[in-house]
């Protein structure tokens, strides 16, 4: 990767601002960071255009046209998300995932993170039970933004591999010096022989690949990276066709 960046830099003699930003590039994540920037620029343009068309900013569309445009918009969003996930996973690999810690109320943080996924929960008619023990704020020293990514990846997985009408139970418990979080679904579960691969990058269980829902295979890899970076650990219990519970603990300080 660094060889490629060297060629890009040496293409021109007079160094531009963009190229100077390239000059520190010797790691895969730096290369990918720059490459994703370049890919995201036209995709942002596409996103904004589709939204303007959907909003009728350049004339009204009929219902069928809007439906197809909405599908294009959603598809573009998936590509953008995938790009961010790939970059995150490379940064985790290279230990370049920098945490910016401050005191946060994890009970409130995750409650808000659940709300973000309300449309998805409603679409699949999932019943979400949220238990915090003890009730009230649970303060920990963590990178709120990244912790929400880890939590949402686990929670989205639970929704994705649940059947319509299933329940998901989220429990947050305070233990001595730690917080323990569990996300229990009654979905398709993980096949016994594939359990050891579940946190590998791009791995998707065979029953998940056959399931209708799409997934990148990066969510659990990223979630584990974030939890471990916080000095915590993540594990799961699962049986096929019955459901999966993911657990993680992180130190409060």
């Amino acid at each position: 990767m660094s060889r490629l960046s060297f060629h890009l830099i040496s293409d021109k003699d007079n160094t531009s601002g963009t190229e100077r930003l390239w000059n520190f590039t010797n790691k895969q994540s730096d290369f990918v960071s720059m490459a994703t920037h370049q890919i995201k620029t036209p995709l942002a343009g596409l996103k904004w255009t589709l939204k303007m068309l959907l909003d009728g900013d350049v004339g009204e569309m009929n219902a069928e046209q809007k439906e197809w445009l909405q599908k294009s918009f959603d598809s573009n969003e998936r590509v953008l998300l995938l790009i961010d996930e790939m970059l995150d996973s490379i940064r985790i690999d290279e230990d370049k995932f920098i945490l910016s810690k401050k005191e946060v109320d994890i009970a409130k943080l995750f409650s808000q993170a659940i709300q973000v996924l309300d449309p998805y929960i409603a679409k699949k008619k999932i019943q979400v039970l949220y238990e915090v023990n003890p009730e009230g704020p649970i303060i920990i020293n963590a990178d709120a933004e990244k912790l929400v990514v880890a939590f949402q990846n686990l929670f989205e997985n639970a929704i994705r591999y649940s059947r319509a009408g299933d329940k998901i139970l989220i429990r947050i418990e305070k233990e001595t010096g730690d917080v323990k979080v569990s996300i229990k679904d009654s979905g398709i579960g993980i096949p016994e022989l594939e359990k050891s691969n579940i946190f590998s990058r791009f791995f998707r269980a065979s029953n998940a690949s056959h399931f209708q829902e799409k997934g990148s295979g990066l969510g659990l890899f990223i979630a584990r990276g974030i939890i471990e970076k916080h000095g915590g650990k993540i594990w799961f219990e699962s049986s096929e066709k019955t459901g999966t519970t993911f657990y993680f603990i992180i130190p409060t300080t």
């Binding site: 531009s16 601002g17 963009t18 100077r20 930003l21 960071s33 994703t36 920037h37 995201k40 620029t41 036209p42 995709l43 942002a44 343009g45 996103k47 904004w48 255009t49 939204k51 303007m52 909003d55 900013d57 953008l80 920098i98 910016s100």
Partner: protein, 130 residues
């Protein structure tokens, strides 16, 4: 009369045309520069009310443009919104440290969000939306 000028500093023609279309429709007076040198001249001459600044620009980077705007007595109080697809923590921290009001990652927003952001500095009651 209220200053309704928004300077968009963006080297991608497609993106700058979309930003200009949306913000003009919302009643703002759009001016545009595609590189740092032109941008600094425009900031000095036009005194925009808000600046939208990309980071990866030809010749001079957006961070350098920001630094120059903020180190000039005449222009240092103009709000600058960094508007880029870079968005790692170190990029955001650097931008805020150099004096940007906000750091917005292009691909995470739609243009209505940019209109709302600009409205914070140029209230819409002062804008002619006819």
């Amino acid at each position: 009369m209220q200053n309704k000028k928004v300077l968009s500093i963006e080297d991608d023609k497609f993106l700058s045309s979309l930003v200009a279309k949306k913000l003009s429709a919302a009643g703002y007076q759009m001016i545009h520069a595609a590189n740092g040198e032109d941008a600094l001249k425009m900031v000095q001459e036009e005194k925009p009310a808000v600046i939208l600044l990309d980071i990866l620009l030809p010749e001079m980077s957006g961070f350098e443009v920001l630094e120059q705007i903020k180190s000039n007595e005449e222009t240092k109080n103009i709000p600058v919104i960094l508007f880029s697809n870079l968005g790692q923590r170190e990029d955001i921290d650097k931008g805020i440290k150099l004096g940007a009001e906000k750091f917005i990652i292009k691909a995470t927003v739609v243009l209505d969000d940019i209109v709302k952001e600009v409205e914070q500095y140029i209230p819409s009651e002062g804008v002619d939306t006819k």
